[in-house]
């Protein structure tokens, strides 16, 4: 599948657009794409636009050449999975039940053995099998986030979009989740787009990195080697950094006196 963003302007209400003139081309060959950029630059807005959750002010997002707005909601749900960064939920369903909600589009009235197996596997992949019968609102923030990622995985879509999926995870789990997503993207030929604030993990794992900079524009889009440069980091975040090489990928060290 191919995702094309064409001169996209997007914002909320009648205010100034958050994103202005975004042009991008992504496809399932790209594997894992990490979106980085400062707070409020429009990272979440962009991915919501791609999933058709907010309407662009002008321009369009095309999936395989067809405008997102022309797809039905169910058609989109079959193609794009979306994991939010924050959920406001009062649900006290068990972790297993919650993760199985990701199979909604595949389930009829009766849940099939295949669905259940997939849910069970996703839970084990995320290492939360010991919590599977626990109520979702009794989990820690990190455990909750792992359950949400598992739920995104079982949706089994060609495109999976995750909004800061590692924001509450410990350092091992951050690397684990990012690396898992990269491997899945490459093995199963998926396009996985995730927003991240850890430039170094993104640089190490992502096949491509998209840097957004103020005011809501694409600063750079390419392989980590191409885009993680001192000048790009300076322009996006306004900090000075040194770039070193770690495991063959650029690694940034921020100079604290520049902040």
């Amino acid at each position: 599948m191919e995702v094309r963003v064409e001169s996209l302007f997007c914002g909320y209400g009648k205010e100034e657009p958050v994103l202005s003139d975004i042009n991008l081309e992504m496809s399932t060959d790209d594997g894992l794409i990490c979106i980085i950029g400062p707070n409020g630059v429009g990272k979440s807005t962009l991915i919501k636009c791609i999933d058709g959750l907010i309407q662009p002010q002008s321009g369009a997002v095309l999936l395989d050449g067809k405008d997102v707005r022309e797809y039905g909601r169910k058609e989109l749900a079959d193609r794009i999975g979306y994991v939010q960064s924050v959920y406001d939920t009062r649900s006290n369903m068990s972790v297993f039940e919650t993760v199985s909600m990701g199979r909604f589009n595949h389930m009829g009235w009766r849940v099939s053995a295949e669905d259940l197996q997939m849910v069970d596997r996703a839970i084990r992949v995320m290492g939360i099998q010991h919590l599977s019968e626990k109520s979702i609102n009794e989990l820690s923030a990190g455990q909750f986030q792992k359950a949400m990622i598992a739920r995104g995985l079982v949706q089994d879509t060609e495109v999976l979009i995750l909004d800061e999926p590692t924001s509450n995870l410990d350092i091992r789990s951050q690397v684990f989740v990012t690396s898992l997503l990269k491997n899945m993207a490459n093995v199963e030929k998926k396009l996985i787009i995730m927003i991240s604030h850890d430039v170094n993990i993104a640089s190490k794992m992502a096949d491509k990195i998209l840097i957004l900079a103020r005011p809501g524009r694409v600063l750079a889009f390419g392989t980590p080697e191409e885009v993680i440069t001192e000048s790009n980091i300076m322009e996006a975040y306004g900090v000075e950094c040194d770039i070193t090489d770690h495991e063959g990928r650029p690694n940034i060290l921020i100079r604290s006196d520049s902040v």
Binding site: E97, R124, S173, V187
Partner: protein
Amino acid sequence: MNWFILPIEKRPADGGPLNQDSIKEPTVKEAIAIWGAPTDEDEKRRVKEGYARTSRTKILFIVFGIIALVVSLIVAVGLGPVTIGFFNSIQILIDHITGNIQDRTNDYFIWEGRLPRALLGALTGAGLAVGGCVMQSILNNNLADSYTTGISAGAGFGATIAFIAGITLSTGAYAVVINAFVFSLIPTLVILGISKLKGGSPLVMVMSGIALMYFFNAVSSVFKIMADPKDLAALYAWQLGSLGNCQWPDVILVFVVSIPCTLLLLFFTSRFNLLSFGDDYAKSMGVNVSFLRNTSLVAVTVITAILVSFTGLIGFVGLVAPHICRIVIGSDNRYLLPASAFVGAFLVVVADTFGRVAFQPYELQVGIITAFIGAPLFLYLLLRSKKTVW
């Protein structure tokens, strides 16, 4: 570590630190292997059994609810000025159905007096509980019930002008009923209009519901100030909610209206689950959220309107029955909705029977009793429940 606030079963036997479940996180390689492993029949069976085991408790609770309801119905038809024994009641019910009526007097008591009343009570309880459960889901608000969007105030206004000013939309025995029904639909129509203009956020709906409730209550008050005390008494009795004077046609009408609406809502339950994680999540899963919310609102309104028109305002059941079930079986709406229906029906049947029998020859209105029985029961479950439910 504060041992006092820990539930008893979590305290380790030796008093040592909490025994954490063994947590084994896979490596990326292992995870990919788990994910991509070929389909395994043994694994499938194991997972299916695990799932069946957790569903079993919930199904059991629903079955238990059905049994409790049936028993309460049989007891309800047996009790009254003339007491008929439990098994005798069953015999009379069976005799009537098979057309082999032996005991004409008791058959009359049961079939013409107590059974329609008990069944209407069951339908009322079920309808209010289903409405409460759905409203709590679609409005994302634990304090919501069928009356939240102003249905009660609208119906109250319709009844007020019928009792006091004699303004009715039709004549005959059903004049008050029709007034209450039609006026109870107005707040929902207004809310649908507002949500069309302003975007259907749940909070906007609740707020407009509250505003409409105050408005209709104010208009009703104006009529009440000018009213004859005799009319006021009749209105007050209606507002308390009563199942008295009910006939078979009422029961059949309520049944025919509320059952299709309930089935529709039952069909929506897995969508309500998605909605409990927010509108955006439900949308991303392919749910047309505004259609779901509006259709459910209309279905709940129709159920509640028909119930309120016949029985008046019976409070508390709609709010509390879903919460009671949530404490016991969790918030999976696929089970919660039917469970709430049976628990709500059971509560109203018991409350009405109690109100009918306990203070003979006087009758206490069912609306009063539901709160009398429901509130302590609810508080007890609230204190006893170990889980975080909300």
